[in-house]
Amino acid sequence: MDVVLLSRLQFATATMFHFLFVPFTLGLSFLVAYMETKYVKTGDETYLRMTKFWGKLFLINFAVGVVTGITLEFQFGTNWSRYSAYVGDIFGPLLAIEATASFFLESVLIGVWIFGWKKLSKKAHATVMWLVAFASSLSALWILIANAWMQSPVGFTIRDGRAELVDFAAVLFQKYAVFKFLHTISAAYVLSAFFVMGVSAYHLLKKENIEFFTRSFRIALGFGTIFSLVVVIIGDINGVIVAEKQPAKLAAMESLWETTTRAPVYLFALPDEKNEKNKIEIGAMPGMLSFLVRHDINAEVRGLKDFPKDERPPVLITSFAFKGMIGLGCYFILATVFGWWKRKRLIDNPKYLKLMLLSIPLPYVACELGWIVAEVGRQPWIVYGLMKTSDAVSPIAVSQVLTTLIAFILVYGLLGVTGFYLIAKNALKGPELVTEN
């Protein structure tokens, strides 16, 4: 065990755990804001009860999401100090702007929302939730611009032994950043929609609060259907961008070893990294990959063998995570479109409701798999083509990182269990019958 591996494990633990809570915040804030606005406009008490019920789940989740995000900002300094010193001129401002321009708004206003029911007018109170929702998504934008820069570094020059910013607009508006944001944010919206649909399905199966949960389900269904489609369409565009900017990652995603025209997509492939080939290949669709990433079935796509061995990402993890993500993405479209068709008679479709209940964890898995593709697929680089992960780590002792890694696993483990226990407990309990305003 060396510092690099331990630091990577620690960062992976911390980010993946953090991202169990982030997408839910991003999506549910909009759904809660929408419900509250419906209440303000119609005066219908059911919408108020919906706002309170989903809002409570939102807040438990929000608390865990916020506290686990703080460690991430500081880990670039504690564990990746050489990275921070080398690229801080570009990467630092993005994190600083995230805090000043969006995270502040989100954090101040969430307190106002929780405690401000009687202090603000109904309309103002609902507006506060809309602002929380926009601020959270804006936070995600800055963080994803920063991550996109690690995938596709632009707008800089090397001066005095470090990367220095020369073109901030190039960093902000590069297409890698724009599409990464759209893809991640839609995935987050899908996750929250599936959560609301799943919990609603549970209560509809038990025939409890039928009106309440039918409405909740339908709102989430509309949201979920749109973004299930968007996430896949944007994902497809992302594939084109990855092919252009990170060809080694693309080759690993598809476990493509040879550079070839009419490059295939395999339904299933088991890569053998040692012998540089696939042990098993099933369902090859020749030309499909060329078509997807270059829009021409005869186009050439670079294979892994085109890259030196020490510049290839781990193929097995990257390709399996990628295939899993794609499969789940397709499933989300099917499940929501089917629901759309049945939306008038949800209560008469217990099998579909059961399916949706069991589907709650799937978008969580898909989101994590997506990040595995993005981050493992970037290896061995921390900044693609510019800095290796192994050169980025802090000059600290193995024992230090080992201690904190264990602490992360223990504390986050307990936090995760407690957080999800409280969310589940309150979700299954159902809404209050009467709600004071």
């Binding site: 500081f74 600083a96 995270f103 708004l105 307190g111 000059p395 004071e436």
Partner: protein, 342 residues
């Protein structure tokens, strides 16, 4: 050069505002086992900071982010050399944050007991360690020419470092007690006021010792001797500290709290002014120190960040003050009965 200097003081200001705002949250959490005799008291205390702590904590994220953006080398060396201390702070902050949210969610005294303990740990540990860390920065950290730290967590726990830690804890406890005075009534308010009264002479004593110890353990006074005008900062800080006692006696708690806020900002600036141009001085050799000259970002980045800060920080302060005025009244029974209350 001017740009770096502006950023140096902005850097100090952001840390100062963080200590000033989240400081009373830390103080309330530290006093929590002592002042919170009944469950009712405890709920009053956490609901007194409930609407505000989250926004307060973002000043830390901003201070950290700005350190990264404006002085990447400082960010990199400071947080990797203070690794164990910072990690302890972060874990403590995690515990504190979730405790507020989790505590009331299960109706069982044992459950609440767990989170009560976490609220104390999560408030006391950061208060102490931030003080320890900053006092150590004032006196210099054993880093070599590569910014590699030669020491352990215990290196930081030297007498001057611990004195800084105690100073911070006391500052925050009084600051927190005063916030409780503002937002509560009756017995809890009286006990909070009497606690602040009892702690005040202790704080005064520690502050005097700290000012004297700084003469021997640090080179902070060099800048003051060179530019005596800066002594006014120390003077204002001392006056602020004295007026805490004055307003406390008159039971004008908001003024006392404001004076205490000014004391915290002044105490931070006492160190920051003394440090200049160093951000992270080396105790091994002054040439290894990280300064505004050798650790800053490029002029372009500093300019972009300056524009961002000039636009957004006033806006942030604006809506934060709005939130404070919304929640400066007494926490009532009705507030505690509310669904989402902590």
């Amino acid at each position: 050069m001017v740009l770096q200097t502006i950023w140096f003081f902005l850097w100090g200001l952001l840390w100062a505002v963080f200590f000033m705002t989240d400081g009373f949250d830390f103080g309330i959490g530290t006093l929590y086992p002592y002042l919170g005799k009944t469950d009712q008291d405890k709920r009053m205390m956490i609901n007194a900071l409930g609407p505000l702590w989250d926004g307060n904590e973002v000043w830390l994220i901003t201070a950290g982010g700005v350190t990264f953006a404006a002085f990447p080398l400082v960010y990199s060396v400071m947080f990797s050399s203070l690794y164990s201390a910072l990690m302890l702070i972060l874990f403590a902050l995690i515990l504190r944050g979730v405790s507020f949210e989790f505590r009331g969610k299960v109706d069982d005294p044992r459950w609440r007991k767990i989170w009560d303990t976490c609220i104390f740990i999560g408030s006391f540990v950061p208060a102490l360690l931030f003080g320890v860390a900053f006092a150590n920065i004032f006196q210099g950290i054993p880093i070599d020419h590569n910014g590699i730290y030669h020491g352990t967590l215990f290196t930081l726990l030297n007498p001057y470092g611990l004195l800084g830690g105690i100073l911070f804890v006391l500052l925050f406890m009084i600051h927190g007690a005063l916030w409780i005075c503002i937002r509560s009534e009756g017995d809890l308010q009286e006990r909070a006021a009497s606690t602040a009264n009892k702690l005040w002479p202790v704080l005064l004593g520690v502050a005097v010792v700290f000012l004297i110890a700084s003469k021997f353990s640090t080179r902070l006074y060099d800048n003051y001797i060179e530019h005596p005008a800066f002594f006014i900062v120390i003077l204002i800080t001392v006056l602020a500290l004295l007026s805490v006692r004055f307003f406390l006696a008159k039971k004008t708690f908001f003024k006392a709290w404001f004076a205490s806020a000014l004391t915290i900002v002044g105490a931070t600036f006492f160190g920051v002014i003394g440090l200049y141009p160093n951000l992270f001085p080396s105790s091994m050799n002054p040439r290894y120190s990280l300064t505004v000259h050798n650790a800053s970002s490029s002029p372009l980045t500093l300019k972009i960040m300056l524009v961002v800060v000039i636009i957004f920080i006033p806006v942030v302060i604006g809506y934060q003050i709005w939130a404070y005025t919304l929640f400066k009244g007494k926490v009532t029974q009705a507030d505690l009965a509310h669904d989402e209350a902590y």
